[in-house]
């Protein structure tokens, strides 16, 4: 043991005093000094036990951190990656589904526009007081029936577009879980910095400063882009 309190030389003054008292034959003082000496030894022991306990506690904490990190690296991260891939697949599928539906709907709308325009034109061409002939009446009936059917099919398409957005709920949940994991990793890293003697606050401040400067470099919209380009002579 190399702790200061347990060095034998620390005991020398007390031992010398004790020896002197023994030689002088002062029993009462001898016993009192002997008690002091014993408590000195006890104090040193307690300090050593305290130090060992602290070390053990730190090792255990480190060990927990290590196993937590190992778990993150081997299980949580690959899992997060897989689930993020799933989010990409989900959003991609939904976007394609939505675009399919929109592309299907466009010709229906165009047809609706064309047919209505033709019939409307024919009605406009009638002179004041002139009655529509049988053919125009029949065509108008057809147009109305067809518009009704097409509107119904569009309503179905719109409701399918709506349903195609259901990925948001699921992908939102996955992303929220991963944000939680990232936060956990962040806390673990901050802890490690603290244990290894670094200043977590300083690291945090540096990270914040970096983030702020990156954000300030990021332009907000197309107008900002246009401003930069025009300042370059575009």
């Amino acid at each position: 043991m190399n702790n200061n309190s347990t060095k034998s030389e620390n005991y020398v003054p007390a031992l010398e005093a004790l020896l002197e008292t023994a030689r002088a034959g002062d029993d009462q003082k001898f016993l009192a000094q002997l008690d002091d000496l014993t408590s000195l030894r006890e104090k040193a022991l307690f300090q050593d036990v305290g130090r060992l306990t602290r070390q053990l506690h730190e090792s255990l904490t480190n060990f927990q951190l290590d196993s937590k990190v190992a778990n993150m690296a081997t299980a949580d991260f690959p899992d997060a990656r897989d689930r993020l891939d799933k989010v990409i697949a989900m959003t991609e599928k939904s976007a394609h589904r939505t675009m399919d539906l929109v592309e299907d709907a466009v010709p229906v709308v165009e047809d609706l526009m064309n047919v209505s325009r033709v019939v409307a034109e024919r009605w406009s061409a009638l002179k004041t007081g002139e009655s529509p002939d049988d053919e125009l009446v029949a065509e108008t009936r057809r147009c109305l029936t067809q518009s009704g059917e097409q509107a119904q099919s569009l309503r179905k398409t719109l409701s399918d577009v709506l349903i195609a957005q259901n990925f948001q709920d699921l992908s939102g949940q996955i992303i929220r879980d991963i944000i939680r994991l990232v936060k956990e990793v962040e806390e673990t890293l901050v802890n490690m910095i603290r244990i290894s003697g670094g200043s977590a606050e300083l690291v945090q401040q540096q990270a914040d400063a970096r983030r702020r400067s990156e954000e300030s470099e990021r332009v907000q919209n197309q107008d900002d882009v246009d401003d930069i380009l025009s300042s370059l002579g575009f």
């Binding site: 991609e92 976007a95 394609h96 470099e217 332009v219 930069i228 380009l229 370059l232 575009f234």
Partner: protein
């Protein structure tokens, strides 16, 4: 007019192609990365390139630089359509010879205006 749309996300290619079709361009090609795009440019007659920046293989900026460095391709207009919106990146693209820069998310109107501007400038310099 044959336009090449380059983006690693199929959804974005589809959106851009739809907007271009709406603007009256029907002759559209697509590539999912800078490298196959460059290959296609060398073998197919392409009149205009609309490219994303951030792609896993060859980035849009690298593609732009490769186009400008190629004697046969260097006059092809390149419009960057990207989520990369850092000041220095916009400057970098401009210095590399980009003809227009549109940040995502964009509207059909923005894309239309930017493309018309590119054509205007090309016609004015002819």
């Amino acid at each position: 007019m044959q336009i090449l749309v380059v983006d690693d996300f199929s959804t974005m290619r589809r959106i851009v192609k739809n907007v271009l079709r709406e603007l009256g361009f029907s002759n559209l090609k697509e590539a999912e990365d800078g490298a196959p795009a460059l290959q296609m440019l060398k073998t197919t007659k392409i009149d205009f390139v609309v490219t994303d920046w951030n792609m896993p293989g060859m980035t849009g900026l690298e593609l732009l630089k490769a186009i400008r460095a190629d004697e046969k391709l260097k006059t092809i207009p390149v419009l960057m359509v990207t989520a990369e919106a850092k000041r220095e990146q916009i400057i970098e693209a401009a210095q590399a010879g980009v003809n227009g820069y549109v940040v995502k998310p964009f509207t059909a109107q923005t894309l239309k205006v930017k493309m018309e501007k590119v054509f205007e400038r090309i016609n004015a310099s002819k």
